[in-house]
């Protein structure tokens, strides 16, 4: 069989490494075989390509101060301040119990790669710099990992004459993608894209066809990756609407979100919806923005709309279930989480949530088996700590304070920064009469997390009275 044909069939079958190997052999024989070169580039790219419209975090974006346009944003227009104001409002009602404790604001941990979002009730997905750093490390690691599989460096970027490649329209796109995804060399990719666009505009001066948009989209991608979001946002043309797919819309909206302009991002999404109605990705973007802005009813109605079009959208099901759980309808939340199980999402988070729903709906015999399932499925430490935290709440609900204390101590042992567990242990210590320990734990909890309303409330109560504390919040 013609080796090139073999390579193509291997590519079709997704045996990408073998395909690359065959292409390498072809290129060794014939260094000028452009088709083989392109195929090899494509094969290597396909191995590591991901949907970068979903990834919201990158180290460059997080730390770039110039990305914040206005420091003081009006109410309801900024996700960062909306989080703070929401928590602030809730903690000022010091006499009543704050309605939502330091719970997560989202039903789903939004992983990178836009993959299946397992959900759990307590997550630190909002606003921890740690997770952002982790994701960018993963991204950069991808670049290095792929290089390590190549014994010889296939494309040495420094030696490529980008302008030359830019002129070759068949080669330039695969090369761009290779540089962007595989090598992670975004700067060169950006340069290449710019040059390609220039050369294209020289060739076809006024025609607006898809290729133009491809390069605009490509440039936008690179800019977002590099954190130079201003440049994208300042372009006024609607190229993202004219594209045939939703990538442009998603990228522009993402860039608005990076600079903390959720209302503008919402506008972009809505315009995109006009062009691509019923698109669940755009709808989920809208729903996420509503959630960030604390407009939970709007968010839930958008998620319900998503479910109309795609009834197995896990993010939608998970978010609606979380909303129902917290608004006092645990039976419906249980139905939805069981649906997630039926869809095949057997994760620790789902089992943990089912356990909590069962507890609330008095299906007592199901609670512990679900927790045990969750414990055995939990791989990461953070998750394990959270499941033990929830198990502590199960103990508390049944009045078994010893079990609750044990579980929360375990939580703290596994994850030393778990502020809620600290607060709860403090309350248990105070109930027991160990005032000093309780006070210390409360201070510890506050030091771990500034916003935790319960700890502040408890400490206030404690310092106001020298006698036994009257009420404390768990």
């Amino acid at each position: 069989m013609d080796p090139f044909y073999t390579a193509v069939s291997l590519y079709r079958k997704r045996n990408l490494i073998q395909c690359a190997q065959v292409c390498t052999d072809i290129l060794q024989e014939n260094g000028q075989h452009q088709a083989a070169w392109i195929l090899k580039v494509r094969a290597l790219t396909q191995r590591v390509a991901y949907d970068d419209t979903e990834v919201l975090e990158s180290l460059a974006e997080a730390t770039s101060a110039e990305n914040r346009w206005t420091k003081t944003a009006p109410n309801g227009t900024s996700t960062v301040t909306s989080v703070k104001t929401a928590k602030r409002d809730k903690s000022t009602t010091s006499d009543n119990r704050p309605p939502t404790q330091s719970r997560p604001l989202s039903g789903v941990v939004r992983l990178n790669h836009g993959g299946l979002g397992g959900s759990h009730d307590i997550s630190n997905s909002q606003g921890t710099a740690k997770s952002r750093a982790q994701t960018s490390r993963i991204l950069s690691r991808l670049g290095t990992a792929s290089l390590s599989t190549e014994t010889e460096s296939f494309i040495n970027v420094a030696r490529i004459n980008l302008a030359q490649y830019a002129a070759l329209s068949q080669l330039v796109k695969p090369l761009f993608e290779y540089l962007y995804f595989v090598q992670g060399d975004v700067k060169s990719a950006l340069e290449l894209a710019n040059q390609a666009q220039q050369s294209l505009s020289i060739l076809q001066s006024c025609s607006k066809d898809e290729k133009n948009h491809f390069w605009k989209c490509a440039i936008a991608r690179c800019l977002v990756r590099l954190g130079l979001v201003r440049q994208i946002v300042q372009t006024t043309s609607d190229w993202h609407i004219e594209m045939n797919n939703t990538d442009g819309v998603l990228l522009i909206a993402k860039s608005y979100l990076i600079i903390d302009q959720p209302m503008a991002a919402l506008e972009i999404y809505k315009k995109g919806l006009e062009k691509f109605p019923k698109d669940t990705v755009i709808l989920s973007g809208i729903a996420r923005i509503y959630e960030d802005l604390q407009k939970s009813e709007d968010s839930v109605s958008t998620y319900k709309e998503i479910l109309n079009y795609d009834c197995s959208n896990t993010e939608a099901v998970a978010c609606i279930a979380a909303y129902l759980f917290y608004t006092g309808q645990p039976e419906w939340a249980l139905v939805l989480y069981r649906r997630l199980l039926q869809m095949g999402i057997h994760t620790a988070e789902v089992f943990c949530n089912i356990a909590l729903c069962c507890l609330k709906t008095q299906q007592f015999d199901m609670v512990i088996p679900c927790i045990e399932n969750a414990l055995s499925l939990a791989a990461k430490d953070d998750l394990l700590a959270m499941i033990w935290y929830n198990a502590g709440h199960v103990g508390l609900a049944t009045g078994d304070l010893q079990l609750a204390e044990l579980c929360w101590k375990l939580t703290r042992r596994i994850n030393a920064y778990h502020c809620e567990a600290c607060n709860n242990l403090a309350v248990l210590a105070l109930l027991d009469g160990r005032k000093q320990e309780g006070k210390a734990l409360l201070l510890a909890s506050l030091s771990l997390c500034d916003d935790i309303a319960e700890a502040k409330f408890n400490l206030e109560k404690l310092t106001n009275q020298d006698n036994e504390p009257v009420e404390c919040l768990i």
């Binding site: 512990i368 045990e372 033990w388 101590k409 006070k439 210390a440």
Partner: protein
């Protein structure tokens, strides 16, 4: 008539002379001849001679005398023949059919003294099953030996005997015995009891605790109205929950439910000692009737050919018959009483939001086998305990230093873990000492005590010690202590941070010094 009247005057007859020796007349209406015309039965209770008068319309059809004191009357139906009358007198039950004596049934022996025969105290009839199955009914006989007998009037077998804590003085029933019947038994001292025929074994359960003496119980199948001698009528549900309370001015003589055939109208008629008869709808007075003397007995039912008839007998022996106005409009719900003496107690509001149907369906699962569910749950809890302990042990053995136990941490390490900064603020005779203690290690340090001591000079410290039980890694602890220097001579304060070996012991303190600082306060001019 322009007025929207509830009752239409049918007739009144003062010549019937329904006056009894004891002053008690018991009434009932029934179609005794199976000719569609209901007769009125009036039992005039006498000490030695009782009369049973049966009226057809306003005419006396027949009169039967009984040689002893009859205390109870009821009519019961039999399959295939006209209904019978049962009169309870002494310890026998006199059964009359077709206006003629039919049978005399002696209530079986009962009670601890087998020599005695049980005296009948009350009678009632209960349909055996739905009308399409059979028309026969059962007799409920209350005896003086604290028991209720259920007797089949065809065979005179006692179907069951239910023991009660007290003598049953009133028996009211509703429903069908074969499917579901509710029998309410009122006793003078033990309160009211309820019996359900669908619960096996059939036993009387307490329904209401004893309160003020019960005058009468009226039961219409869903609501129980109990009139007591403290001038109140209380409405109860079948579950025993009090719905409302009506207070009246004077003694209540008798009450009866009035229900129209299409169930639209549901009133309670109350006969009072001042000659008035009040009609209440859901606790609100809607109509009043006035008579010269008080009404001692009332019954509502079909009389003659007329549905919805209220037959009343007054103290003087007069008979009043009133017909319910079918065209009566119940539009206005105005309270006729000007003073708010009728109090209605609403049901308690449900706590929290109403549960959805799904929630209720899910809780049904618990009802199926609750014991097994809880057993599984308890087993699960034990397993969880074990797992938590096991994981705890695993974690404890895997980490090198046990952070929760203080004994394993050696002293020299600790001194490198704590950072103490002391600042003196103020000038003049009052100072503030700021102490900042920071845990710069990555372990948890606990049971620390900060001790302050005045080495030199006459300084007054606000506090001389402070305890810190727990310091997480990188945690900071601020302590502010006021220092007064009354003599302005200055002095020296030494601050010692110590780790306690026995943190909970209050009397003796012993530990090792972790860090210390000396603060020199210079004399102020």
């Amino acid at each position: 008539m322009s007025r929207n009247q509830l009752w239409l005057d049918a007739c009144r007859n003062s010549s019937v002379n329904l006056k009894s020796e004891c002053g008690v007349v018991l009434l009932d209406v029934e179609d005794l001849a199976k000719d569609g015309i209901n007769r009125l039965l009036a039992l005039l209770v006498g000490h030695e001679l009782s009369h049973l008068k049966i009226f057809n319309g306003m005419e006396l059809q027949c009169e039967i005398s009984l040689p002893e004191m009859a205390v109870a009357i009821c009519t019961f139906s039999i399959d295939g023949s006209p209904p019978g009358i049962a009169v309870g007198a002494g310890s026998s039950l006199y059964i009359y059919k077709n206006f003629k004596p039919y049978y005399k049934y002696n209530v079986p022996h009962g009670g601890p003294n087998y020599g005695e025969q049980a005296e009948i105290t009350q009678l009632a009839a209960l349909s055996r099953s739905t009308p399409d199955v059979s028309c026969s009914s059962l007799l409920l006989v209350g005896t003086g030996h604290n028991s209720l007998l259920i007797i089949d009037p065809q065979t005179f077998n006692a179907i069951s005997r239910i023991e009660l804590p007290d003598v049953p003085t009133s028996i009211k029933s509703s429903g069908y015995y074969d499917t579901e019947a509710v029998i309410l038994i009122g006793t003078p001292e033990a309160g009211v009891f309820i019996l359900r025929s669908d619960q096996k074994p059939v036993q009387a359960k307490p329904f209401l605790p004893p309160r003020s003496p019960i005058v009468e119980i009226a039961f219409n199948g869903t609501t129980v109205a109990i009139a007591t001698s403290d001038h109140t009528i209380r409405y109860y549900t079948l579950q025993g929950q009090e719905l409302r309370k009506i207070a009246v001015d004077t003694f209540i003589l008798t009450i009866t439910w009035i229900q129209s055939t299409n169930q639209e109208l549901c009133l309670l008629a109350v006969s009072l000692a001042n000659g008035q008869v009040h009609f209440y709808r859901q606790g609100i007075l809607v109509e009043q009737l006035h008579f010269k003397t008080y009404i001692i007995s009332m019954t509502f039912g079909r009389y003659g050919r007329e549905d919805g008839t209220l037959v009343m007998v007054s103290k003087d022996g007069e008979l009043f018959v009133k017909i319910l106005n079918r065209g009566y409009k119940m539009a206005q719900q105005t309270d006729l009483k000007s003073n708010k003496s009728s109090v209605s107690i609403c049901k308690k509001k449900a706590l929290g939001p109403a549960k959805t149907k799904l929630f209720v369906d899910q809780t049904m699962r618990e009802k199926e086998d609750p014991a097994k569910m809880y057993q599984l749950f308890q087993e699960g809890m034990c397993r969880l305990h074990l797992r938590a302990l096991r994981d705890w042990l695993n974690l404890s053995s895997s980490t090198k230093a046990d952070v929760e136990q203080f004994a394993s941490i050696s002293v020299p390490e600790e001194s490198r873990c704590l950072h103490l900064v002391a600042k003196l603020l103020g000038s003049g005779s009052r100072f503030m000492l700021h102490l900042l203690l920071q845990n710069i290690s990555d372990q948890v340090i606990d049971s620390l005590t900060i001790m302050l001591q005045v080495n030199d000079g006459k300084l007054v410290l606000e506090r001389s010690s402070a305890k810190i039980s727990l310091m997480l890694p990188t945690a900071q602890h601020w302590i502010k202590i006021n220092v007064k220097d009354p003599t302005n001579q200055g002095g020296e304060v030494s601050v010692i941070v110590r780790k306690d070996m026995e943190p909970d012991c209050e009397l003796t303190v012993w530990g090792s010094i972790v860090c210390a600082a000396k603060i020199n306060i210079s004399p102020t001019i």
